[in-house]
Symmetry: C2
Subunit: 322 residues, 2 copies
């Protein structure tokens, strides 16, 4: 049985995983989920990326939106607003609240985030093993200009940057606070060392995959696993397929092009890279950087199109291994 | 301006207060609320009696039910059940959840229950000053027979006895755990000492008013306030008007009659007592116990009927003072 490890952020990672499961239903898939965008709201621990993966693969996701629950209502949020308790810019629905209540209660009772994630997945049966990248607290902060502050800039939580500000201001830096002392969650390094192939889905290279790689030992384990590592570009035609990846790429000095992202990961980590057919021009630059590259359709317009992308990624993995 | 202190439980106390406000709209009413039935559920602090008073006087109550919010939905509870997380027997609605989330978040941030109650009331504007009896944790437990346990009996939380078991088994004892070391909340003793009259609404004499009186200093402050203390019988025609007060009265060795409840409070505490007209026979026994007594209609069938009860209570207070 093929063992596949996938480093996943939220919507992009979750949708890719659905295609991957469809492409190789018999594979044993371990997902290492980003927890850098976790946030404490209303005294509850919210894990947006883990939940997006869990809901998407478990059939509970709001399909059009890509995050949150289908058939959702917002009575709790309305009431919190009536009490003057915010933030109002973060859309927590009633069904979603229950997940955070269960998680927070388990964490308070002494369970680790890994334990909690396993318990929540016992209900959702996502068909993959979903592991948080770490059980330690890591919180991605974004440094933005703030003329009103003494230093001229201030740090905001990633969710505030992404959801409230909609990345409308430039990111000066992206800092995964706490990552330097975080340890990979139980099972993560074993899954990497036992993998037959490692995939980077078209997730955000900075705040999703980048945060996972910032956990000490993670990058080294992947580089030293001795198996093909293949990524799919989240940038198509010089623009992010979704989200505002260009803003955070700029913060780390990387151009928003399919080739630049591959070079950012580097040949020390990546063996193969898929770019969209509209970016076929960039194949040569990527290959010159020592990374095998192919141009294939990369728009996740549906499960079949996404499954085809997954098959291409696995084919490229086979090719670099040969 | 007349200053009135009312010791209140949940539904009975809340409905009486609505009548009292209607009867004397200009009075300054301080409510000392029972917190012995508070319970921690799903990691959240739930205060059923305080909330019933707040929602009832603030216009948010589910009228027919007497507790919980009107226009309520139950998505969070459904989801918690889908995760296998209970208890399912306690009916927490989505709107109600928001109150407990705000309260729990404030408590975790270091605020006292008094602070929290004031903050919640800033939204609801109940038109009374609502004070918890104490900021300390008090939890009413009920001792019931349990043939399966080694001791032959076990203690359950009052809510489990009342809501899950519906008082269907005998209560051997009622214990307000923590009451012996609890202190009256800020403002409680001052309100009592500055009161012109103190009222016991037709609330449960054991688990509502009795729990409030169990806080050290409370009973003495009321007895020594030097103002009329008048109660209204929650027992009409030898049966509780609502709820299952007879079960917990039996646990403290008190008959379920209007006269027996008055004698249970005693003339050291009570100056006046109202019984229902169907219990006119018991007036003499109450007066022989040194408590002025009148028989008046005591069914809270609506705000006007309840306002009339409040006026009778205040009239009796004037009479005992004269």
């Amino acid at each position: 049985m093929q063992r596949i490890v996938v480093l996943a952020g939220g919507i992009g990672g979750a949708r890719f995983l659905r295609g991957l499961k469809s492409a190789v239903p018999d594979a044993e898939i371990t997902v290492i989920g980003n927890t850098g965008d976790d946030i404490h709201l209303f005294g509850l621990k919210v894990c947006p990326d883990l939940d997006t993966v869990m809901y998407t693969l478990g059939g509970g996701i709001h399909e059009e939106q890509g995050w949150g629950r289908k058939d959702e209502s917002f009575a709790v949020k309305e009431e919190l607003a009536a009490y003057g308790v915010g933030p109002e810019w973060f859309g927590l629905g009633d069904r979603d609240f229950a997940t955070h209540i269960v998680r927070t209660q388990m964490i308070a009772a002494g369970y680790s985030l890994s334990d909690v994630t396993e318990a929540l997945c016992a209900r959702w049966q996502p068909g993959v093993r979903l592991l948080p990248m770490t059980d330690d607290r890591v919180e991605t902060h974004v440094l933005i200009d703030d003329p009103d502050s003494k230093e001229g800039r201030r740090a905001v939580h990633f969710q505030e940057y992404w959801v409230r500000l909609r990345a409308s201001v430039d990111a000066q830096a992206v800092v995964p606070v706490g990552a330097d002392s975080a340890k990979p969650a139980p099972g993560v390094l074993d899954a990497i060392s036992e993998a037959d192939v490692i995939l980077f889905p078209p997730s955000n290279p900075v705040v999703s995959v980048g945060t996972i790689l910032a956990v000490p030992g993670m990058r080294e384990a992947i580089a030293e696993a001795g198996v093909p590592v293949v990524g799919l570009s989240p940038i198509v035609g010089d623009a992010p397929v979704r989200g505002m990846a260009d803003k955070v790429l700029a913060a780390v000095g990387v151009e928003s092009t399919a080739a630049a992202v591959a070079q950012h990961y580097g040949s020390g980590l990546l063996d193969g890279w898929l770019v969209d057919t509209v970016d076929a021009d960039s194949v040569r630059a990527v290959e010159e950087a020592g990374i095998r590259c192919r141009a294939v359709p990369l728009m996740m317009t549906g499960t079949e199109a996404t499954a085809a992308m997954a098959r291409e990624a696995l084919a490229l993995a086979g090719e670099v291994q040969a």
